[in-house]
């Protein structure tokens, strides 16, 4: 009786949710196939073309629309995101491990860590800029901005790992110790393989959050721009569908990243199985 009403209602709700989530992206994707260089970022589509994709890679004939300055900024953002991912995940795993046993002041430390993702990015960015100025430190994407990226993404990695450890059966580790295996080795042989899916999730979080971080980076990165800053810079003049084309490519890249995540995930399961068989 109830499900006769509830199920369609929930289905409708879910559909609407997905439409709102993906419609903007779909519009963007459609507009990226607008003809160029005269076609603008609006409907109707004058003519379907891949002009803006060619423009993105410098394959289109020169026109009044300047090419998107993404080459170096893309490299910077990727490198920064990668560095941030590694450091935040390592810190996240280590601190979550520390939080498994209650230590003195653990409550305060918890809030101090989580604060990193709570405080407004603009404020932290500005603060970092001021501090750097005061001490005469040069601002760079790989120094001041990197620190802020870690401060921002580390809490996410930490919370993910905390949730993973929360469900973790400690007696598995104790069993290993009791078999004569040191805690360090137990971590490597037992704990880490079991929390590895969580570690992958933490890495994914850290990478994507850092990759499109804007407000903190704005003030803290200095002269060399990261990708979000470089793209934002082009908005100041005029918006062309080449930004949309780039958006589509970036999203495809994100999907590829998710694909890699999924593959790694299933590999980690399969590898354990294979090792087990090889042992015979």
């Amino acid at each position: 009786m109830q499900s006769a009403v509830m199920k369609p209602a929930l289905a409708l709700y879910t559909t609407l949710f997905l439409v709102f989530l993906y419609a903007p992206f779909a519009i963007l994707a459609i507009l990226s196939f607008q003809t160029g260089p005269e076609g603008g970022p609006q409907f109707p589509i004058i003519e379907w073309s891949s002009y803006w994709y060619q423009h993105l890679f410098g394959l289109a004939p020169p026109s009044r629309v300047a090419p998107l300055p993404i080459g170096e900024s893309l490299f910077r953002s990727m490198t920064l995101a990668f560095m941030t991912m590694i450091v935040s995940t390592v810190l996240g795993v280590m601190s979550a491990q520390a939080f498994r046993s209650r230590f003195k002041g653990s409550g305060i430390v918890f809030y101090l860590i989580v604060l990193g993702m709570m405080v407004p990015g603009v404020l932290v960015g500005l603060g970092m800029a001021l501090v750097a100025n005061f001490f005469g430190i040069d601002r760079h994407w790989w120094s001041t901005a990197f620190v802020l990226h870690v401060v921002y993404t580390f809490p996410f990695a930490f919370l993910v790992m905390l949730a993973i450890f929360n469900r973790f059966d400690k007696s598995v580790e104790e069993a290993s110790w009791s078999l004569g295996v040191s805690p360090a080795r137990t971590f490597r042989k037992v704990t880490f393989p079991l929390i590895f899916p969580g570690v992958l999730s933490a890495m994914l979080f850290a990478f994507t959050l850092s990759y499109d971080e804007f407000s903190r980076t704005l003030f803290a990165s200095g002269r060399d721009l990261t990708l979000p800053l470089a793209i934002y810079g082009t908005f100041a003049v005029e918006i062309h569908p080449n930004v949309f084309a780039f958006g589509v490519l970036t999203t495809l890249f994100s999907f590829a990243l998710l694909g890699v995540y999924a593959i790694l995930m299933s590999l980690s399961v399969r590898r354990a199985r294979r090792i087990a068989i090889q042992e015979e």
Partner: protein
């Protein structure tokens, strides 16, 4: 006999100040099967975890084969722990789970394989050796946990409610296997349980604990026949307990004056006259007689005879369940086997005599 494990005045106080274990004194002989029995929260698991090195001890000493191990971490103690949750490594096969401890100790592969194979055979796990542990039954997982713990050849195997998660039938099977395994290997087993039947059927000696303290350490039989404390008398078996004051001691027989008259039981210690005491009578030792036979039964039972009135009674198969009312107003539940008391002897409202020999009852200080 050489002692394998010694706990000397071991104590544990939690960080918040609550004492978990107090003055725990125990010496375990090599190859002994010892059970820690008690209600939940009595400190039995904490004590086991202190032996295994998972909990720091606050006072006293723990020695294994004479060596003080208080400060050794778990991996450097000659103990293996079996957990109630089995705690198998889910990312490894059965064989890998078992060989894990040997691998890490860098035992050569040939020797390692031989040991693992022997362990697999001992516990009947050959057929599932290459399976992953996730999809196996509780009994299989428990056997794997045992094999994993035993293959590293510990001097003492610690078992924390290892059968708690199994269903009743399987529990009995594994109980038997456990007992046989322990006898074959000759390793000391320390077994924690809150199930009486498990402790009493498996172990050589039982340590009954309550509120962090040892109540009694003795053989399963002695727990029944000679409870040392009121707690044990109430926790183990089915005992009737009378309060009174000692009037005289004669050898091991102690006479206690109770509201029901003078009753006699046995005691291991000497009681001064006038001391408050309790006399503990196992219901199994109580005999029922017709009220008119008082004189002849009195002699045979050292004067232990109480008259009572039959209240409710119901027949359950070959057993008649009786509720009898004592002159003091107290009601006792007794069982009468039909083959011992033929016919319908106990009518509601009829008078009966309850008797028991002095040797069957125990007198303890109140």
């Amino acid at each position: 006999m050489q002692s394998d494990l010694e706990l000397i005045k071991v104590g544990k106080v939690y960080d918040n100040g609550t004492p978990a274990v107090v003055d725990f004194d125990l010496t375990v002989a090599r190859g002994e099967f010892i059970a820690f029995l008690g209600p939940s929260g009595c400190g039995k698991t904490t004590t086991l975890r202190m032996i295994g090195g998972f909990e720091a001890i606050s006072a006293g000493d723990i020695r294994i084969r004479g060596q003080r191990i208080n400060d050794l971490p778990p991996e450097r103690r000659p103990t293996s722990m079996i957990f109630q949750s089995y705690a198998l490594f889910p990312h490894m096969t059965v064989r890998r789970n078992i060989s894990y401890g040997l691998e890490v100790k860098r035992v050569p592969k040939v020797e390692r394989d031989a040991k693992v194979d022997r362990m697999l055979a001992t516990l009947g796990l050959e057929d599932i050796a290459d399976r992953r542990v996730n999809n196996l039954s509780g009994g299989q997982r428990q056997r794997i946990a045992l094999a994993r713990g035993l293959v590293v050849e510990p001097e003492i195997l610690l078992l924390d409610e290892p059968l708690g998660a199994l269903d009743a039938n399987l529990r009995r099977t594994i109980q038997n296997e456990l007992k046989i395994l322990q006898k074959t290997l000759g390793i000391t087993f320390v077994f924690v349980t809150h199930a009486q039947s498990e402790a009493l059927s498996l172990s050589d000696r039982v340590v009954v604990m309550n509120q962090g303290r040892i109540e009694q350490v003795s053989t399963p039989l002695a727990l029944y026949t000679r409870p040392a404390t009121l707690f044990v008398a109430q926790f183990i078996g089915n005992n009737i307990i009378f309060d009174g004051a000692v009037t005289m001691t004669q050898g091991t027989n102690v006479r206690v004056k109770t509201p029901l008259g003078l009753l006699t039981g046995s005691a291991n210690e000497n009681f001064e006259a006038g001391r408050l005491a309790k006399i503990i009578v196992p219901t199994e030792a109580v005999q029922l007689h017709q009220a008119n036979k008082r004189d002849e039964v009195l002699v045979r039972n050292d004067g232990n005879a109480i008259s009572a009135v039959v209240g409710r009674s119901s027949v359950v198969g070959h057993v008649q369940r009786l509720s009898v009312d004592l002159p003091t107003g107290r009601a006792l539940s007794l069982e009468a086997h039909v083959d011992k008391y033929p016919g319908d002897q106990f009518q509601r409202g009829g008078e009966v005599l309850l008797t028991w020999p002095a040797a069957a009852a125990t007198v303890i200080a109140a």
